[in-house]
């Protein structure tokens, strides 16, 4: 079943590619339920770069992985919420004309969390792709770069492979059956053996060559020198920066609508970080891809992102334009974070740190999660949950979840 038969009746504004509403992901543990993501909402504007900032353990990665249903359940529990995603295919009801069901976008709106396994699989790597934090761990150590990159094309670009191999006319009968099984990685011992001998081996070699071509193209997209040589290597033979380029090549191979970058530069050397960052920004601009960029590094997010959402202990505390957030932060946590940043104009001396510790996320009490560390705490902060609200009518995208502004 194609994912587009599972469209929802929820609406998504025209300019958005995805929207997270009240996402709740919990994890079972011996001590109790860990509320890793507890009511997170934010929007990703089509073609823009959205930064999701927060410290380690605040639920950024869990939010990101939820987009692709990569949370293991159990121990994970999807406790509620929706992730709406605008698919490329035309709306089932109006066929692109624009109706109420698709919020006049003409495209199907999918709820990523309610898709079946086979439906989400069609989106993974094709419409939504992900770059992982540590490229050394995210590449399989036992397979060559080629094998790993080829899988993306084998899974989503079967027709392109056949077209490139020039064998679209020979796909009837046993030959086509074998080659399709080969591309889909569904061979058994007998079919594998059959492909080793003529007349099938010739076609298999053509397919291999076509895949080689696609892999080379994808690798050169990320400015890897000698892609032909690099693709025969194993991950451990490449440097960290190279491996991350391979990961990026793999992620953008199918030109996805949404790219999720989960701290893609954290595991890299500082010198390599800047280059990888520029590469992502450059690719994003060229392909008009929407990016969800996850990081704990505020200054980095400021440099490349259009919009920012600041996350603290499983909740979004503030969201808005990158410039607004940095120049006019409203939430005490965001203010603290920005004060803790070293800058060129900052006078010499100590940086300010936020006092205290991140609260336990196991069966948390009601009340603002930041209250225990907040210097501007009021009487009702510890008893009531603040809501994410628009501050002024002038800038409706700037939202803060704090009682100071109510």
């Amino acid at each position: 079943m194609s994912p587009d038969t599972a469209y929802t009746s929820d609406s998504l504004s025209e300019n958005l590619i995805a929207s997270v509403t009240n996402l709740k992901v919990y994890f079972q543990s011996k001590q109790g339920m860990v509320h890793s993501v507890d009511g997170v909402s934010f929007d990703i504007v089509d073609g823009e770069m959205m930064g999701l900032v927060g410290e380690t353990g605040c639920g950024k990665s869990v939010t990101a992985r939820s987009f692709m249903q990569l949370i293991q359940t159990p121990p994970g529990v999807l406790a509620g919420g929706k992730i709406l995603f605008k698919s490329q295919k035309n709306c089932n009801k109006c066929d692109g004309a624009g109706c109420v069901a698709c919020s006049k976008t003409g495209k199907n709106i999918l709820d990523l969390l309610s898709l079946s396994e086979s439906q989400i699989r069609e989106l993974r790597g094709e419409r939504i792709a992900m770059i992982f934090q540590d490229p050394g761990k995210a590449l399989n150590p036992g397979l060559t770069i080629r094998t790993q990159l080829a899988e993306v094309f084998q899974e989503h670009r079967e027709n392109d492979v056949f077209k490139k191999a020039g064998i679209t006319n020979n796909l009837d009968g046993i030959n086509g059956y074998l080659l399709k099984k080969y591309i889909r990685q569904e061979l058994n011992l007998i079919t594998k053996l059959m492909l080793k001998f003529p007349p099938f081996s010739g076609f298999r070699k053509k397919v291999d060559k076509a895949i080689d071509g696609l892999v080379t193209e994808a690798l050169s997209e990320t400015q890897i020198p000698n892609p032909n040589k690099i693709m025969e290597r194993y991950p451990h033979e490449l440097s960290g920066g190279m491996k991350q380029r391979v990961m990026i090549a793999q992620a953008i191979a199918c030109n996805p609508d949404l790219l999720i970058a989960d701290e893609p530069t954290t595991a890299l050397d500082v010198t390599v970080q800047a280059r990888v960052l520029d590469l992502i920004k450059d690719l994003q601009k060229r392909h008009q891809t929407s990016v969800l960029y996850i990081s704990h590094d505020l200054s980095l997010v400021r440099r490349i992102c259009d919009r920012v959402a600041v996350m603290y202990a499983g909740k979004i505390v503030e969201t808005g334009d990158a410039e607004t957030i940095f120049n006019n932060p409203k939430h005490p946590y965001t203010q603290g974070l920005i004060k803790a940043l070293p800058s060129m104009t900052h006078e010499r001396g100590k940086l300010e740190a936020i006092e205290g510790m991140v609260p336990e996320l196991i069966n948390p009490k009601t009340g603002c999660r930041f209250a225990s560390r907040c210097k501007q705490k009021k009487s009702n902060c510890e008893n009531n949950d603040p809501e994410l609200k628009v501050l002024s009518n002038k800038d409706k995208s700037h939202k803060v979840s704090c009682f100071l502004y109510e």
């Binding site: 992985r65 692709m68 990569l70 396994e117 699989r121 069609e122 989106l123 993974r124 790597g125 094709e126 792709a129 992900m130 992982f132 934090q133 540590d134 761990k137 995210a138 590449l139 399989n140 150590p141 036992g142 397979l143 899988e151 993306v152 899974e155 989503h156 990685q185 194993y234 451990h236 033979e237 990961m247 793999q250």
Partner: protein
Amino acid sequence: MQIRDYIIRRLLVLPVLIIGTSIIVFALTRIGGSPIGIYLSHEMNPAEVQEMKERFHLDKPVPVQYFYWIKGVTQGDLGWSGVASAPVVDVFPKKFAATMELAIAAGIVAVSLGIALGTFAGARRNKLADHIIRVVSVSGASMPLFWFAILLLIIFWVWLGWFPIGRSDPNLFEAIPHPTGFYTIDALLAGNFAAFRDAVWHLIMPAVALGYGATAIIARMMRSSLIEELQEDYVDAAKAKGLAERVVLKKHARRNALIPTVTVIGLTFGFLLQGTVVAEIIFRWPGLGRWMASAVLRGDQATIMTYVMFTSILFLIVNLVVDIIYANLDRRVVLGE
């Protein structure tokens, strides 16, 4: 470094290891006393005893005796087996083939069943199938072979009469030539299907009894390393590409989970060889193990040394093969050296 260079280097080390093993084997056997007893009878007088000692070079110092032994081995003389009342070299090949047939059959049972069960359980962690497989493998690893073998014998031979004991029906095998000594293969080469069926039928019970312990060890190792691999980032990355669960499991996780399992497989082979002694005695299998057991009791040193030497060399070769498979699975091994 290429895999080929790696193999060549490992092969070059092999003779050194074999010479080292032979010294240890010889020294350990001689610690048990002079082997002269097996060559003597009560009627011999002291002069005759002295003559026998000189004939077998047992009047010389032990290091010199070692060189006489090695000289004999290189000339195809492995000594006289008192137990078999024949030269070791005449009896050995037939019995060796019998034992190898049993050990290999048990190995096939253990490796295929162990990996399959381990993968199945690991992929279904904490589900019912996993629990059942864990119970089966814990019992396999903790039940002594002699006990389990007798249990099988009572149930399937005495009570149900499904499987025979011994190695074959002699009527079927007298007419068949024995180029390999492996009855199953000989029967196939001769094109005698009835004999083949008979050989397999005799093989099943001892092979299962012998292989069960190793199956349990391999399955447990496979399960735990698969569970570990499934937690890795590259598994999520593979899923994020849109791959089917089946491909993620078989091509990505299982491949890497096999790396530690293959090492264990190499070690369990030694376990199997050692188990043949017990299995052969219980199932009346005419192999090295049974011969060996009586040789140890009677102080038949030529037999003991040959047996230990052969199994050591076999063990070395199996582990070499395992290391080569290992290097093929985990490319970092070869480069890292």
